[in-house]
Amino acid sequence: MSTIEEEILNYIDGNCSLAEKTIIETKIARDKEYNLLYQSLLVVSQQLIELEFEEPSMSFTRNVMDKVNLELKPVAMQTKINHKIIYGIGALFICAILFILGYAIAISNLNKNFSMPKLNFSFAIHKYINPTSLKIFLFLDLVLALIYLDALLRKGTFKKT
């Protein structure tokens, strides 16, 4: 990679900092070879800007419009979303929840004493650790490792392409 050419092209494109610009301008003024390279790259850049466009055939626009007229008229995506329908669906769900809640309150006997259900938190872990559960655990680990490896390899392949 030629750093001098890259430097000059960045200067011509206006993609360098003020400090770099000053350094390059000094080099252009003092270094004859550098100046020659700058001039040649500047000329090519200018010619690339001035290149004329290729013109398609006279019937190009007509052909495009003929094809376009066979298509369905495009519609802005925003107009396709009817907010009334969205709000309607939302209202329906809220009504259903309120109805179920009201019905549940209506049929429940609120006079009875309410007591918290007793929960059994004692957990005999030794019952669950057996050869079968260990094999299942290791198998799941293996599957997860393979998925991770696959994702890692795919990422590498995409970066290369």
Partner: protein
């Protein structure tokens, strides 16, 4: 900026049913879209097919155009993908620099032009020919940068790449272009560039 606004006005007109306004958009952007297509297809017939396909696809998807970016950037991204699809279908092989058919023939420009103009025209012919010898991606990036009035960020958006990648690709494309020019011009290189 003004043209960008007008593009948006035309798009909105098309979206509310004035489909004939799309013709104005086509006429406005067809030279560049066709030039870009030429960078991939290398012959006029195929380039017209790509460019037509691009405008039809753009029309179909006009409703999804988020009017935040330039219409041209969006259109060029469609051109790029259309051209790539076309290349994949056709399996075009890029021309080798040593092919006999690549020997450049400068057309006789007539006697009405002054010497400077002829010389300048010759330089443009050489430059155009050198671009056609580049790989499609290189030619497209150079065309988008110099003729499409697109910034590195906009080119990155159109080609679905990082801006830094575009910068590196642009630099390498210009080096390859310089090599092609040197090959074509040989001793005349210093006179023409």
């Amino acid at each position: 900026m003004h043209q960008n606004e007008t593009d948006l006005a035309l798009i909105n007109a098309v979206l509310v049913g004035q489909t004939s306004q799309y013709e104005v958009l086509v006429k406005r952007h067809q030279p560049f879209v066709f030039t870009l297509a030429m960078r991939f297809a290398k012959n006029r017939e195929d380039a017209e097919e790509i460019a037509q396909d691009c405008f039809v696809k753009a029309y179909r998807a006009l409703g999804t155009f988020k009017q935040k970016a330039k219409f041209s950037t969006w259109l060029y991204s469609i051109t790029y993908t259309s051209a790539m699809t076309f290349l994949r279908k056709k399996k075009l092989t890029t021309q080798s620099i040593n092919d006999d058919e690549n020997v450049l023939q400068i057309a006789n420009s007539g006697t009405n032009f002054d010497a400077n103009l002829i010389e300048k025209k010759s330089a443009y012919v050489y430059l155009n020919h050198a671009i056609t010898l580049l790989l499609p991606d290189d030619a497209a990036i150079i065309t988008l940068f110099y003729k499409g009035e697109q910034s590195l960020e906009e080119i990155a958006q159109a080609l679905n790449m990082e801006a830094k990648t575009v910068k590196v690709k642009l630099f390498r494309a210009r080096l390859r272009l310089k090599d092609k020019l040197k090959y074509l011009l040989k001793d005349e290189v210093n006179e023409l560039i």
